[in-house]
Structure formats: structure tokens, C-alpha cells
Symmetry: C2
Subunit: 698 residues, 2 copies
Amino acid sequence: MTRRRPGSRLAGLFACILIGAFPMSSWSDEGMWLLNEPPTARLQEKYQFALTPQWLEHAQLASIRFNSGGSASFVSPDGLIITNHHVGSDFLQKLSTAQDDLLKNGFYAPTREQERKCPDLEINILQSIQDVTDRVNAAVKPEMAAAEAFAARRAVISAIEKESLDATGLRSDVVTLYQGAVYHLYRYRKYTDVRLVFAPESEIASFGGDVDNFEYPRHSLDICFFRAYDNNQPVKPPHWLKWSTTGPTADDVVFVTGHPGTTNRLETVAKLRHRRDVTLPYTLNRLRAAEAALLQFGERDPANARIAQSALHRVANARKAFSGQFQGLLDPAILRQKLQSELALAQSPKLTAADRAELAKAIEAIETAQKTLAPMEVEFSLLERGDAFASELFAHARMLVRLASESTKPNAERLREFRESNLESLRLSLFSDAPIEKELERVRLQQSLTFLAEQLGGGSPLVVKILSGKSIPARVEELLNGSKLFDAAERKRLADGGAKAIDDSRDEMILLARLIDPEARAVRKRYETEVEEPERQGYAALAKARFTVYGREVAPDATFTLRLAYGRTIGYQVDGVDLPFHTTFGSLFEKAERLQFREPFNLPERWKQGKAKLDLAVPFNFVSTADTIGGNSGSPVLNRAGEFIGINFDRNRHGLVRNFVYTDVQARHIAVHSAGILEVLRKLYDCPALIAEITGGK
Amino acid sequence: MTRRRPGSRLAGLFACILIGAFPMSSWSDEGMWLLNEPPTARLQEKYQFALTPQWLEHAQLASIRFNSGGSASFVSPDGLIITNHHVGSDFLQKLSTAQDDLLKNGFYAPTREQERKCPDLEINILQSIQDVTDRVNAAVKPEMAAAEAFAARRAVISAIEKESLDATGLRSDVVTLYQGAVYHLYRYRKYTDVRLVFAPESEIASFGGDVDNFEYPRHSLDICFFRAYDNNQPVKPPHWLKWSTTGPTADDVVFVTGHPGTTNRLETVAKLRHRRDVTLPYTLNRLRAAEAALLQFGERDPANARIAQSALHRVANARKAFSGQFQGLLDPAILRQKLQSELALAQSPKLTAADRAELAKAIEAIETAQKTLAPMEVEFSLLERGDAFASELFAHARMLVRLASESTKPNAERLREFRESNLESLRLSLFSDAPIEKELERVRLQQSLTFLAEQLGGGSPLVVKILSGKSIPARVEELLNGSKLFDAAERKRLADGGAKAIDDSRDEMILLARLIDPEARAVRKRYETEVEEPERQGYAALAKARFTVYGREVAPDATFTLRLAYGRTIGYQVDGVDLPFHTTFGSLFEKAERLQFREPFNLPERWKQGKAKLDLAVPFNFVSTADTIGGNSGSPVLNRAGEFIGINFDRNRHGLVRNFVYTDVQARHIAVHSAGILEVLRKLYDCPALIAEITGGK
């Protein structure tokens, strides 16, 4: 390997820890970089790539955020969008019926008229970033108590967002970076008329299912095409990605622009220990309970399986991701390195004595916040995050109950999700006419209320109050039969009716949401004041010390905002076996045949029958070292020319510790290859218009 | 319904609570009755059936306990045994290889020579029962402290068992009844040479899989035939059950003789609350974690699925059973009734003031024991019950480590499982040459060590000690690669070598078992002294009050010893729909076809091809009101003539609360019909010798 630069110490260290030693290392490819603080120098030095403002603007404006939790990009001048099948699957399910199962059978709209509008989907395209750190910090005075500081910060952020919305008409979000050291205002163009164009069958979209999830070699056509509309016309985006018909070859430099959700790399050891000992054990228990209930429900019959599929995938995916995180935090090597880097920072000669004292205080404050958090976290998660009420009806009911009271308050004083600048997005989801499946509501609500009782005890006052003298199944029937919130018009009526409509309502779900609101708000208030605020202040001080010592050599943790990552297309070794950087259609068929096409390794009939038509040597999936995490699903992979060469959809199991440390020894993200997509669209799917559109008629 | 007898109050009350009111009721069919305290009067009155000593002796001597956890019976003069497929499946799996999968394909031995011997299976046939309560109680003096009392009782019990073994050569177990009020000595004839004769394919044995488990209507051929040998000759049992070729019809009185495992009907409200708030939430979390790991492992490929199948079934079955228990305890109606019956007892005019004071003290002592138990239960379960080490190798290692030290102590002072009278059974399992699958060991050990860390925290001294500086996967590799306990000969060598061999051993599993033995023994000691002993004394006092007020109208809770239950073959209603008392082959095919033969509703080819050969009107499964619980799996169902009319294999979901309350409104046990078995053996399976044997050549 080549030389190591001063300043890259942290990155280099993280890159090596999984091999347990400290060999010399080049710059690693770590980093989910801010678009306004791009890794220009690194790219020049390591890959001799000149990252121009034009390249960045092109990538930024062609990149899309799916607010439902994923990434995407424009791939035609007529607003055609590509994302992952597993990002689109929520909408595929909402558009499906028992007679017309788009998840199972796939979908293609040969004409614009046949495209199907998705209920309650909002997509965002980042237009600009503005640093508002000084204004935010000016509003929070050092002498303020935690509750006051929290309120002051929330107020100034809501004001900035509202002003920006009023001035530009753009969705405006203030984003907290470095856990509280930096605040940026992100402005987005948003579209809410998004229509389905193409989806493959889920058997090939998620070939290998839960077994292959987070594994490589991989063989998934995890893609889905949509089209954005505005005023009933296809959007004409100023930038869209040209489709590379060849895609990447070995050892290419590649770029990923997407919206990584959450990483925890800059967290203190105390916070990570808290995750290991409190948050993750609870979370894993919760996810396994939900997954078991959904699996059993889905097995009962094919109709259940269809309506549970996307909830099940989400839960199973989270369970696997968090299991990997938990194993990572149990690995003594990882926490040891975290501790060493915390010590190294504290002992840096670049810090003054005063800096050091401030840093020590900050680290201690974060540790104290964890001790405060531990006894309240389960209640916070159950009541306020809603783990006890896994129900769309309940989510709507709570939104309605709170909307009625919050919207009468000044903008500055509202719970954050009810700030003026967010109300339009909130209403989009509240008034969605997507069907709510009663059978699925029943199983999820029974399961989550049971989990509540497991956590708090059947005799706890809260459980007794919620069940109101009934068994869980009986109470769930009462809630479901006594609610009209299945109907979007009824939700609209209640929202429009304000506090009086809510007060007068005898809807069982509204009553439940009102019943627990005092406790839920109380625990949220304690969480915000006693945990969130001290953490934020602590991390701001910690980041200040990091900036002094390392500058901005380390990108901020992921925040579901647009980031640029880069890496190389290169395979890796497992147990001495070389895994190539890409798979092929040939290796897909080998695997399916070896596993006798048993679920989850079955293939759609179209594929089984069409094998002979395919060039089996064409690449299907590929990996690179670029730094990604959940939320990056659907991110375009670009080449030096800014062309679309693939679409990220996963990372391998070695990448599951990426929440805490980046390593490029074995960890890889996984993408579908642009040439592979073209090959199957051409040979197996009868979709000439789609092919013409993405290849520019070639 | 007919009249209600005085004295049946408790039973009647339990029978009614699920319909929420107190209608007049006849005697219910509640009760898992001791063979030496049979319900003769009840049977006479309710069913005009004269239960003779001859009938009882016949049923007792034809009934068999599978020590692996189930029931069975002799059905031919040549030692032929019938039990459930899911009771035999452990052995089917041990006898299977990748090339010869007996679970999947089934098995039939047309000749004696082709029967296959099961590794480490011990079966017991009850020969006699003797009341030893006075001798046990005499050994425990009122003035003894808890630890002393516990030791004294253990000593006298071990002595009684050893004397009986020496005197009779029979396996001799002292059984605790009424949670500590009564002690009976059970003597068993035992056989350890048991050979597989016939098993159907698991697709039909457990048709409907986890989905249909604990559900009705049901369609499972959950049967398996074995043969007992002694001195290499088939056993000639003095009693065996004649096969009824017609089986039961509607509204017949039927009997079940089997070995129900555990019920909790006589436990106090405080104990039940402890189960609800501590034991069951932990247990459900544990089971779901294990089930998820096994499911994911099994999905990876067919070889995994085969070796994990029986562990997976066990875990999934337990998860479903405990989920039902948990829902039952969350139902306010159930605990309310329990509380009322506790109050009714306390206020009974049949008790003197002194009796009442003693009763109150007992109930309080049991409650105090729960408070003591709560903070230690998780550690007790993880370390001593072995939840943290789900590994056959570990179980062997612990057995070896403890055998070396326990066997040097006087019989009276040993841990109970090392008492002289049990050593032979213990060695049978320790030296079993059943294969231990390394892949399965790996996944179970990783999963259970992960669960340990979830429960105690990654930084707990015990976890740190057990992982010894490694990640969980690395530590598991070290344990598996560093152990020779896969080899029965090595286990034998270590057992024969005594303490020195154990001290000298560098086997990683032995070292692990030794590493945690002090903590495990310490928590067991605390459990025995601070929980088990006070509970036992409390329940003895409670039972005394019950006997005073109600006599022996209520059978003791289940203890995995032979019991007699009885009931009627009668259907029930669910949501207004009548479910008949039996299903048919016709309804089997309807269901499989409606669910498109998708797993778990697929049928073996033999069945699909053979549909036309079957009389579709023949009964397949049936239900009755007889009182059963887990452990009753494989119990014969008998008619008035003492003939075999079916084999119990499950209960329905309404029966899941039977641990706490009996009800006959909807709760039913489920059995395979003797005529249905004959029908398929004759029409689908080519097994003339087997048919001739069970029908006496008819």
C-alpha cells in the first residue's frame, strides 16, 4: 500500500482495526461527505480525480431522497427515477390488491397513462446548503438551563426554517451535524406526484431473501422505476444521469451520492456502551418479536403474506443490521480502539489545558446523560416512539390529537414535527388514501401491545390503563372495530375540526391516543431536556476539540441528508477465498440450481424460461469500498464522467459495523450493475420504451 | 346442562371463566388424575363408567414415558410402541444423514433386522406408586433453617430412591405432588434398547407446521412406531392396547393416559404474577431469539434445515405455548378468578383461626419468595439452567465436570441429578453416540452467548470472563475447534478418569464449564435455599388448607408422571361457526388444495398421488375435552374397553391457558384417529407386517 498522510490517523486506524494490527495504510475511502465540504483534495491525491463544482452540482441535482427512507436518482430528461425495489416496495404493496399483486408479479407501464400514482410519497431534491451555525448558537446562551436551551434552539431553528420556506417556497430543514457542533439549512425542491413505471418480480428483486441480505456474492435485481410529475406533467429535471451501458470494470473509482441514515462514529465510548448494554438488547428483542409475529401471520395464507411482505422486510432487515451492530460492539477490539482514539484526542498537544478541561467535561456530561437515559429509555421508546402501538391507525390518531393542540401554539413552541415548515409534508401522510389493512393492523397491534406488557409488566398502571380490563385480543378488536380512521376523509374531517372535533370524538383510536398522551409527552420532555440537550452540548464541545486537532478530516455522522462517498470496485477475501468484485447472471443460475430453486432462491418463470437468452457473462451485482449505510439504498453509483453505472442496494456483513468504524479490508457496499440491468430489460422484459428512455434512444 | 355437585366449585369455576359468567355447570372433565387416586366416583356419576382396578392396571402397564419428553404406549404383544412423530423426531434426526433423511422421507422396517436402534433413548413403564410423605416430612424438622431443611429433604429422598433401586432393580423416583404437600415413590421398568419401526414423512406428520400448531381443525399424521427390546429380544409387555379399527364416534367418553409435564393451577396469585411479569417475558425473548437464529440457519440450505429441524420445532412449539400462557395471564378475567378462589379458600368456614393464620403465612411466604427470585432468575436461567450455553457439547462438558466432583460425595449431599439412583440414566445420555452437528452447535452457541450478553450487558464481568477478550464468533470457533467432546469415547475417557482427568483436561468446553461452575453453583444454591425451599413449605401449608376445605377434589399439578384424564369427543364453536369433533381426509385435501400446497401445507408425493385410493370420509384427527398439557404428546386415547382409539398430539389455542385453568367451552386436546391411521397405512404405505401386528393379523 502507499503512504499514509498525517491527519488521516483516525480514518487509518478504523480501516485497520478489523485485522487487529496497524499496518501502514493509504488514505482510506472513509467518509460520507457533505456536498458543501467535499473531499476534493483526497480525491485528487488518491485517485487523481478533479472534483469540479460542475460535477458536484450535476450529481446533487440528479440525486433524490425518498422521504419514506431511501435514495434515488433521475435517469432521463423526462423525470424518470430509479431506486431500489425494496425502497419502492411500500408503494408497490399499497398499489397491489389480491387480484393484482405488483410485488409478486412485477409491473410495467408501456405508456405514461398506465403509470400508477403512489399514495403519500414525497421526494426531495437538494437545492442548496447554508451554514446557520452562528445564528443557532447565538440563540442559546451559556447561562440557560437545559430546558430553556432546548426550547431556545428549537425556536430559532423553527424560525429559520419558516423564514426560508416563506422566502423560497422550498422545503427547508435545519440539519444538526457533528451531533450538535454545526447547523446547516438544507433547501429541497419536493414532488408529491410520483408514479410507478417498472418493477421486476420480488423473487428476483430480493433473490436470496433474508438469507442473502447483507451477504455477498449477491444476485438481486433490486431496482424499480418511477416518474416524477408536477402539475400533471413529467418533471424536466435540470440534471439527470446518463446511463452507462458498460458500467464499472475492476478497480475503477466510483462515487455514491445518496442519503445515509444514521452512523455513530463520533459518539463517545459511554454512548456506545449504552447502545450495547441498553438500546440494542431492547431493540433486538422488539424486532425479533415483531418479525416472529409477521412471519407467522404471513405463513397462514398467501393473502397475509402479500400484505405483510413489506413490513416484514423492514423488520427483518433492521434485525439483521442491529444484530451486526451488536456483535460489533461486543467485539473487544472495536471498543478498545474507540477508547484509544478518545484518549488520543484528550492527550493531543494541539489542545490547551482549558481545551482539555472542556473536553473532559463534555465527555463526562455525555456519560451522565446515558445514566439518565438508561432508566427512561424503554418507556420513551414504547410510548413516545410508539413501539407499543405498531399501527398505522394509531399513528394517525396520535398525529390528529397532537395536531389539534400543537397547531394552536406559536411555531417556536411546537413539538418539532409540527413546525410550520413541516405541516404540508405531515398532511400528505395523514390524508393518504393508501389502504390500511385491518388484518395486518390486528397482528401488529396485538404483538406490540403484548411487547408493551412484556416490558412493563402486566400489572403496571400504564398497561392496565391501556387494556382497560380486557385481554389483549379483545382490546384490539375494540380498537379496530371502534375506529373510523381507516378512512382518509374521516381523518381530514377530524384534522379540519381542530380541538373540538378531537374532544368530541368517540373514535377508539383517538381515545387511546389521548389516553396515553400525557405520559408520552412527559417522557419526551424528560428525554429532550435531560438527555438530548446535554448530549448536544457535550458533542458540540467534543467536536470543537476534534476540529482543533484534526480539522475537518472526518466527515460528520450520517443524518439522512445528501452525502458523497467514493471508493474502488475491488473484491476481497473471505477465509482465504477470493470474491470477485462482481457477480454474473451465470453465477445467479448456478446458485439457484444448486439450491434447487427453493424459497428464497426461486426465480420468476420469466427468468427460468429466459436463461438461454441471457449473456451469462454479463455482470449482475458488484461491490466497491465506498462508505455507505442504511438510507443509501437506491443511491446511484457514478463514474468519473458522472454517469449512472449502478445502483447501491446493500452492504455486506463485514460492513455492518460501519455504524461505528469504517474498514475497507472486507466491508463493501453492493450495487446492481448498469450493464446487467440493461441486459435483462432487453432480453427478459418487454419494455422498449423504458429502454429507449434510459439509453437516450440508443 | 345438568346439575352441579357440591365440592366441584373450583373445577366449575375454572370451566366457566372464559365465557365470563357463572352458568350452572355439570362436573367438568378437569383433572390429570393420579393412578392411585383415580376419579372413580366422578366417572361413575358423569359417564356411568365403572373404573375398575383391572382397567387401570391395564392402562398403566401399557402406557410408556419417553424420557426425552413425551408419552407412548404398547400396541402389540411384541413390544411395538406408538408415539407422536414429533416425540420421535429427535431420534429420526439422529438416525438421519444427508443421504438418508428419515425426517423428510419417512421410514419403514419391513423386518425386525431392519429396525434401527435409537441412540440414548430411555423409556419407562410405571410399575407401582407408594406414598412416602410421612418419611420425607419426618426428616425435615420445623426448627430447621431453609438450607438445612432443603438438604435434609434432598437426603431422605435420595435415600428412599437408592433403597428402592437396590431392593427392586427398578428405576425409583420420589415425586413431589401438590408443590410440596405429598411425596410418592414411583417405580419404573425401563428399557434403553428402542428401535425405529415406522415414521411417515414430516410433511404429513406435521402438516400445517407452526401455522397449524395449537390450532384446530387439524390434519396431521403425527405418529411414529418403535419397538422395545431387552437382551436383544422384543419386549413382551404384560399389557398392550388392542387397536380399535373403528375409533371414537361423536360424544363418546374417552380416556388419556400419559405424562403431562407441568401445570401451574395450584400456584398462588403472587407466583402467577411473577410468571407474567418476570419469567414469561424473559422466556419469550429467549425463545424468539433462538427461533430466529434456527430459522435463518435452516433457510441457508437444505442440509442446515435437516439438522436444525427438530431443535426448531421444539423452540417454535415452546414459543407458541408460552405466548398463549402469557396472553392468558394478561387476561384480567383469569387472574381475577384466581384471586377470588384464593380469597374463598382463606375465608372458608371449614378452616379454624389457626388454619387461616397458617394459610396467610404460607401465601405471604410464597410471595416473598417471588421477590427474592425476581433479581436472580435471569442469572439462574442463563448459568444454571444453561440458557447461555445452548450446546450439546457444553451440556456434556458440564455433566463431566460435575460428575467428577459430585460422585465423590455421599449420595445424600449430591446435586439431585447425580443421586445414585439416577446415574445409569445420566450415563446413557452422556455416552450417547448420536452425532453432534458442528454447524448446529455453532449457530446455537453464538446465539445463546449473544443472548447472554444482551441480558447481562457486554461489560459484565461474567460476559467478559466467558468471551476472554474475543468476539463471540471468534470465541465460538475456539470452543468448537478446541473440544474433543464430539467423540463419545472421549467423554467416556474423561468420565472414567474422574477428577484428575477433568483437572488435567485442556479441552476448551471442559475449561468453559469449569470457568463458570462456581457462579452457576452459587446461584443454584441461592435459588434452592431462598426460593425453592420456602415455596415448597408454603405450598405444603396451602395444600393442607385446600385438603381441609375441598378434600382431594382437585388433582395435583402435572409432574411428568403418569396421569389419567377423561373427556368427551365433542366439537365446539368459534365465532359462531361449529367445528366438528373430527376432521377427515377429505378436509385435508381441501385445505392443501386451497393453500396451493405451499409450505407448510405441502403433502408428500405418496399422498398427492394416492388421494383416489383413500376413503375421504374416514376421520383423520379428532378432539375431546380430556385434560392434557405438554408431555401428553404421544399419549394413547382409550375407549371404555381400554382399546387404542387414537393418539393425542396437541391441544388447540383455547387450551393454551390450561396451565392455569381448565375450561371445556372451547379448549380441546387433539388426537390422530385410530381408523384414520389404519386407512392410510393400508392404502398409502406398503407396510403389511406392521398392519398385521397392530390389528392382530386381521
